[in-house]
């Protein structure tokens, strides 16, 4: 059963289209990763789902409530954590959560219980009397998450909840979110596919306001198999080297890992798998040019590399892989 149904959903900021005719459905109870680079339109899409932004075109239904005519009903069933948790710094954690519980319509008799429950869920109990202004970014974000959870929403929208976190904070936040699995439908936006792949069931990949790929982790892994990655350390002036590599239809993307003053470059090359492998092509290139080489190694591309490839191929329609959307399962 779908909790979100979007048809031709479009949002413009002035003349700029930030969300461009999106069509998607999200099933109830799943954790969906909304992946895209900065400026891809993820936050605008989430803000439309919260009813904070009104779409310019298209249909959007959340739990069968229409966004245009039934926005207050939608706000009752969603919990939203913006990229930077918008909280009152001069309030104490418990006091803030009590205030949010009350304005979300929780009965006065249940407020204390609800606040204690979310503080426990988000590991905030030791900080209940702390001023929010005195909390670290990670804990402030947890206060925002606790706020989003307090009214036990059916749909939880988390906009880059781990942005700016160190690896430990990130891990802790992922654990907190993972614990919520099964109880809520969650949309988790991130620009890092690798980061959220462990906890998400499905993914929506966005670029430039458009949906470029939708499917499960397995489907994305299929995309990984279509991508080759070769690491190479080669000596030659960078500009000329890049021109030569770009000229080849085999090389789809070049990533410079490290460059030294004496023109040694550690590069990562990406290409789509076909008859001639990328590694074979690189060997031929080295033989032909006779540039000094220290390393030539084929590696399994990461999910983020696939995401980059998907984005790149979207910009070059002729190089686009044939299938991007997961076929629906036959019942």
């Amino acid at each position: 059963m779908s909790i979100i149904q979007a048809r031709h959903l479009t949002k413009n900021y002035g003349k700029k289209t930030v969300v461009d005719s999106l069509d998607f459905e999200i099933e109830q109870g799943k954790i969906v990763g909304l992946i895209g680079k900065n400026g891809a339109g993820k936050s605008s899409l989430l803000k439309m789902l919260t009813t904070y932004l009104i779409p310019h075109k298209g249909e959007l239904k959340i739990a069968d409530f229409d966004i245009y005519s039934e926005a207050p009903k939608i706000r009752k069933i969603i919990g939203y954590l913006p990229e930077k948790a918008c909280v009152y710094p001069d309030m104490r954690v418990k006091e803030y959560l009590k205030f949010r519980a009350r304005i979300k319509g929780i009965d006065n008799r249940d407020v204390n219980r609800a606040v204690s429950h979310v503080m426990e869920q988000c590991n905030l109990l030791p900080f209940s009397r702390h001023l929010i202004a005195h909390l670290s970014k990670g804990y402030t974000q947890r206060v925002g998450l606790a706020d989003a959870l307090i009214a036990r929403p059916r749909l939880l929208l988390l906009d880059e909840p781990m942005s700016g976190f160190d690896p430990e904070q990130m891990q802790q936040m992922l654990l907190v979110i993972e614990k919520l699995k099964g109880d809520y439908t969650i949309i988790l936006s991130s620009h890092n596919l690798e980061q959220v792949s462990a906890i998400c069931d499905d993914f929506l990949v966005m670029d430039n306001g458009s949906l470029i790929c939708q499917g499960s982790l397995e489907f994305l892994r299929e995309q990984v198999k279509q991508v080759e990655r070769v690491d190479i350390e080669i000596q030659h002036p960078l500009k000329s080297l890049k021109e030569q590599l770009k000229a080849s239809p085999k090389v789809k993307q070049i990533q410079i890992i490290e460059s030294t003053k004496n023109d040694w470059h550690h590069m990562r090359l990406y290409g789509y798998r076909n008859k001639t492998g990328l590694l074979d092509w690189c060997s031929q290139f080295i033989q032909k040019t006779a540039y000094p080489v220290r390393l030539l190694q084929e590696k399994e591309p990461s999910l983020d590399a696939v995401f980059s490839q998907l984005v790149e191929s979207e910009k070059e329609p002729t190089k686009k892989p044939a299938k991007k959307s997961q076929p629906e399962k036959s019942s």
């Binding site: 932004l53 913006p82 009350r102 706020d147």
Partner: protein, 250 residues
């Protein structure tokens, strides 16, 4: 109603913790204390043409207090929410925009009334003190403070509107101050150019100075009440409309 109560409580608390509120209170107490005591001193030394109440409310110190009160009390209301981004979290909660507006307005208005309380108490105490018997009539004091209360409706509403115009509270405060000064100086138009032109009485009526002068003579003027209450409601409606439009335009 519990939701509105929670919003109102939060706004009231935010104002009570704002240093600006306490600064205004100090200035108000000093200013009003100075106005009343200097009027009484003059009353004791020489006969006054006007009443003590009239001179207490028609001097530059009173208007100075009045001008700084509204900007300092209201400039943070919406500007601070916009700056912190908390307006987004309020608007994604299941509450109406009108509740947000009314809670902010009412909290600021309640504080406005509280700020006048020391001066009301002082006036009552003086009017009941035997040595100052006859200086103020209690009915006159009631008339002037009722008008001050009613005037607050429109000026607090004006402050709310100014605060919704910018996310910089200082800028919001300046807008509010400019509006108040312009409104006040309407009352000086007839004083400067004379009241020979047709619209002079109408312009007098628009200014707050004229209404204070009437009320400080102990007259309860219901047309003044109607004027300030209706202005307040219109400004609140404009503020609501502006906030809603801003939300839709995002």
């Amino acid at each position: 109603m519990p939701v509105f109560h929670a919003l109102l409580k939060k706004e009231f608390r935010a104002l009570s913790q704002a240093p600006a509120t306490w600064v205004i209170w100090a200035v108000m107490m000093l200013g009003q204390g100075f106005c009343i005591s200097s009027s009484l001193k003059v009353f004791q030394q020489q006969a006054l043409i006007e009443t003590v109440l009239f001179t207490s409310f028609n001097n530059q110190f009173f208007w100075f207090c009045y001008f700084i009160l509204f900007p300092l009390l209201t400039m943070k209301l919406f500007a601070e929410e916009e700056r912190l981004g908390t307006m987004e979290s309020l608007l994604t909660a299941p509450i109406n925009l009108s509740w947000i507006l009314m809670s902010k307005f009412l909290a600021a208005y309640l504080w406005y009334l509280i700020l006048w309380l020391p001066s009301v108490i002082a006036m009552i105490v003086i009017s009941l003190t035997p040595s100052f018997k006859g200086v103020f009539l209690l009915e006159d004091v009631v008339a002037v403070y009722l008008l001050i209360g009613v005037m607050g409706i429109s000026f607090v509403a004006w402050g709310c509107l100014c605060s919704s115009l910018s996310k910089h509270q200082v800028l919001a405060g300046i807008y509010c101050l400019l509006g108040l000064i312009s409104h006040h100086f309407l009352g000086w138009t007839t004083h400067i150019w004379g009241n020979y032109f047709q619209a002079s009485s109408f312009i007098d009526f628009l200014s707050s100075r004229w209404h204070i002068q009437v009320a400080s003579q102990g007259l309860i003027a219901f047309d003044s009440w109607f004027y300030f209450v209706s202005c307040g409601l219109i400004i609140l409606f404009i503020t609501y409309y502006h906030l809603n439009l801003k939300r839709l335009k995002r």
